[in-house]
């Protein structure tokens, strides 16, 4: 057993952080400027979108653990949401796609030529996928999905809908007839949120993901997305702590750097503890989803719930410790707060995930260890 990242995994995280750093508009004061379209090309050139694509389908065949630190960097760099949503969709297509589906989408994803947005939430429903109302009937899907990030840039949508009376995932092409977008007004304009209006949008039968076991595919989507979001939340939190520590070292009041005051120090220490604890939860979740471990859902929900709360606490503290500067438009802390807030409510907030932790804990007499079968050579 080893709970550490190897050099390649660390290096990938650093590379991605630097690549995003080349686009200062991502973290500029105006959230609307943060919707850089050039970022996709740069990340694609680095090969990011080929990493999770299996080798058979033209990719590198890495696991979610391999990209965990890269995903943390997507969070801290405020990468456009289409990057994460494409990575999440890649995992679902790789695990649950038929050979035909994989051939159709995965090589294009690996080449950076296909962007996926994910459409799960609906107005009037909670986070629970069983509540979905959007329906598939007669080769057409009808309904309205809210808060679809970077929907305008997506080539296709991974849509949660109801087919044959049960929830399932279906891929809808952006250019299919009956697909329309309405831009949202929302807390984080850099996320490019749209309402996806599907009015009899054409879907073919082979666009359904795992028609034999749709619930399993949805469960995995939630687990993978929750884990990826937890990773990005920790990335945001860690960056906020770094920014705050630098500020309190240099900001002088009462004749000394305010970081010398225990009232300030202790808050910074608490932020560091929340981040490290969040990393423990998130990194374990990356492993659990990558390995399809027995406690995959519980680990993912723990990570999403805990990291969501931690990220928001750390952002709040960061603003407080920056004093008057903290709530200015120019200093850009609000950019991270905004992103943390929308991530917190994507794919289940902490209340929903804590309930899932409870339900999964009660449903199985959880062994405190991995099962005996988990042998490696």
């Amino acid at each position: 057993m080893n709970f550490a990242f190897n050099e390649e995994q660390k290096s990938l995280g650093e590379t991605l952080g630097q690549a995003l750093g080349d686009f200062p508009e991502l973290t500029s004061p105006d959230p609307a400027d943060g919707r850089s379209r050039e970022v996709w090309g740069a990340l694609s050139e680095l090969g990011l979108f080929s990493l999770l694509v299996p080798e058979l389908d033209g990719g590198v065949g890495l696991s979610l653990v391999d990209v965990a630190l890269a995903i943390e960097a997507l969070g801290s760099g405020l990468a456009p949401p289409i990057v994460a949503s494409t990575l999440i969709a890649t995992d679902i297509l790789a695990v649950y796609g038929t050979e035909e589906q994989r051939t159709r989408w995965l090589p294009a994803i690996a080449e950076g030529e296909m962007k996926f947005a994910i459409a799960v939430l609906e107005a009037g429903q909670g986070y629970d996928p069983d509540e979905v109302q959007t329906a598939i009937a007669g080769g057409a899907v009808t309904g309205s999905k809210i808060l679809v990030g970077d929907a305008d840039q997506a080539d296709a949508f991974l849509v949660l809908a109801r087919g044959d009376g049960r929830p399932c995932l279906v891929v809808v092409a952006h250019d299919a007839p009956g697909v329309a977008l309405r831009p949202h007004a929302d807390l984080d304009p850099s996320s490019g949120f749209f309402e996806l209006v599907l009015d009899g949008a054409a879907v073919t039968g082979d666009a359904l993901i795992a028609p034999g076991a749709p619930a399993a595919a949805i469960e995995r989507l939630i687990d993978v997305a929750a884990t990826v979001y937890a990773g990005m939340q920790i990335g945001i939190a860690a960056r906020m702590l770094d920014t705050t520590v630098e500020y309190v070292k240099t900001r002088v009041q009462f004749g000394q750097p305010i970081g010398a005051f225990q009232a300030i120090k202790h808050r910074c220490a608490d932020m560091a503890v929340a981040i490290e604890a969040g990393r423990s939860a998130a990194y374990y979740a990356f492993w659990a989803v990558a390995e399809d471990a027995f406690d995959r859902s519980r680990a993912a929900s723990m990570a999403k719930a805990y990291c969501g709360e931690s990220a928001r606490d750390v952002c709040n503290q960061a603003i407080q410790l920056h004093g008057g500067m903290g709530f200015t438009w120019e200093l850009t802390l609000h950019r991270f707060l905004r992103r943390a807030k929308v991530l917190e409510h994507g794919f289940g907030n902490h209340v929903w995930h804590y309930e899932r932790v409870m339900a999964t804990s009660l449903a199985t007499q959880m062994p405190s260890i991995a099962p005996q079968a988990a042998l490696v050579d």
Partner: protein, 396 residues
């Protein structure tokens, strides 16, 4: 990153499980529990520790030459998990194993290692810790207990406080002042003191739980042979920092996590069995939110410890990360016991042995005990200073 276990690790776990089946009393954890009386409980824990040793399950990751098992930190973590699973009793010689032994192993002479380590591992010798004094708490470096060298002895005079298990201990490691004229961190030494020495007296201190686990310990012209110094004279602060790193570190946290997980499981079972106002507590969404938060936090305690083990295994030094571990588990556990009383509602105040109390009134005692978590082993305020100054680089 890999949470799978090697064949050797799986075998280690299986051997331990098999051994535990026979080692624990019939009905343990269901109908058979630890003795209620404090002294009886202490002796029960000591006997359990000695039984572990007899079975080869003490000093898991310590060198074989000193009586340990020579296993890895990962096997140490597996050991903790299996103890939790079996609801095994705690030990009595925790300070010996976690603090005295680790410090002697790191800084002791070969003679000291041979003399002390085997008896710590076997728990034939129980240890207590002589660090805090009435006027040296968070400001530990201001200890005033004096040790004056006379020939081949130190003569020790002074008072220590909060010395847990002194009443059961054969040995004490103490931080004493050997040079009163040097700057306060530079005049300290680290001594190993035989508790049977003439001139030592102890007085129990009662805690808010009503128990008297800890004591005041008085030293009145106590003679300590010079060979019982660890490290050089006046180099005691450096040695003590090692002790503190272990006291706050992942081994300690993992041992405690065992108990917290057991009590949380017990609390969940209690919530599932308790009816209030016609409904089960476990079906109340507010109760479920609170329980789930503690489930996550208790699991994160374990993950924090295992992640830090991996850092050490991969060659990183022990440092201020121990303060992160301690600050996290102490507050998370305190929150858990606060939550336990929250969810019990009207019966929350009922404690052992009231027949109407929940789960035998165990949570009320644990709740009171938990108040100490954020104070001992360095208060939360000290841990925050360490994290802020030594990890984050904020000015002193």
């Amino acid at each position: 990153m890999d949470f799978n276990y090697t064949i050797e690790e799986v075998q280690f776990r299986q051997d331990l499980r098999d051994w535990l089946v026979d080692a624990l009393p019939q009905g343990w954890g269901d109908t058979v529990f630890e003795p209620e009386d404090e002294d009886e409980r202490a002796m029960f824990r000591l006997a359990w520790e000695q039984k572990l040793h007899a079975g080869g399950w003490a000093g898991i990751n310590w060198p074989i030459e000193y009586g340990g098992r020579g296993a890895t930190l990962i096997e140490r973590a597996i050991f903790a998990e299996e103890m939790a699973r079996a609801k095994a009793p705690e030990g009595l010689n925790i300070i010996g194993h976690n603090l005295a032994g680790t410090t002697i192993l790191r800084h002791g002479t070969e003679e000291q290692k041979k003399r002390f380590l085997p008896k710590i591992i076997s728990s034939d010798e129980v240890w207590c810790q002589g660090f805090s004094e009435p006027n040296a708490g968070s400001d530990l470096a201001s200890v005033r207990t004096r040790a004056v060298r006379q020939g081949d002895k130190f003569i020790v005079n002074g008072q220590k406080i909060w010395t847990s298990y002194a009443q059961y201990s054969q040995w004490c490691f103490a931080l004493v002042r050997t040079d009163p004229d040097a700057p306060k961190h530079k005049g300290l030494s680290f001594l190993l003191i035989d508790m049977a020495s003439p001139g030592i007296s102890i007085r129990p201190l009662r805690q808010i739980s009503g128990e008297s686990e800890f004591n005041e310990t008085f030293f009145d012209d106590v003679e300590v042979p010079v060979e019982n110094i660890v490290g050089d004279i006046n180099d005691g602060w450096r040695i003590a920092m090692t002790t503190l790193a272990y006291e706050r570190g992942p081994e300690d946290a993992l041992g405690r996590q065992i108990r917290f997980k057991q009590e949380l499981d017990m609390l969940i079972a209690t919530a599932a069995a308790t009816t209030q106002g016609g409904g089960k507590l476990i079906d109340d969404p507010v109760v479920r939110q609170k329980l789930a938060r503690s489930i996550a936090q208790v699991e994160i305690m374990r993950l924090n410890a295992v992640r830090t083990f991996s850092k050490y295994l991969n060659g990183e030094d022990r440092g201020p990360d121990a303060s992160i571990i301690k600050l996290y588990w102490s507050h998370a556990a305190q929150d858990m016991y606060e939550m336990a009383l929250d969810i019990l509602g009207p019966i929350a105040p009922l404690a052992a042995p009231d027949p109407a109390s929940a789960s035998g009134g165990r949570f009320q005692l644990s709740y009171l005990q938990s108040k100490a978590f954020t104070i001992y082993s360095g208060s939360s305020e000290i841990q925050r200073n360490i994290i802020a100054e030594r990890m984050l680089g904020l000015p002193r």
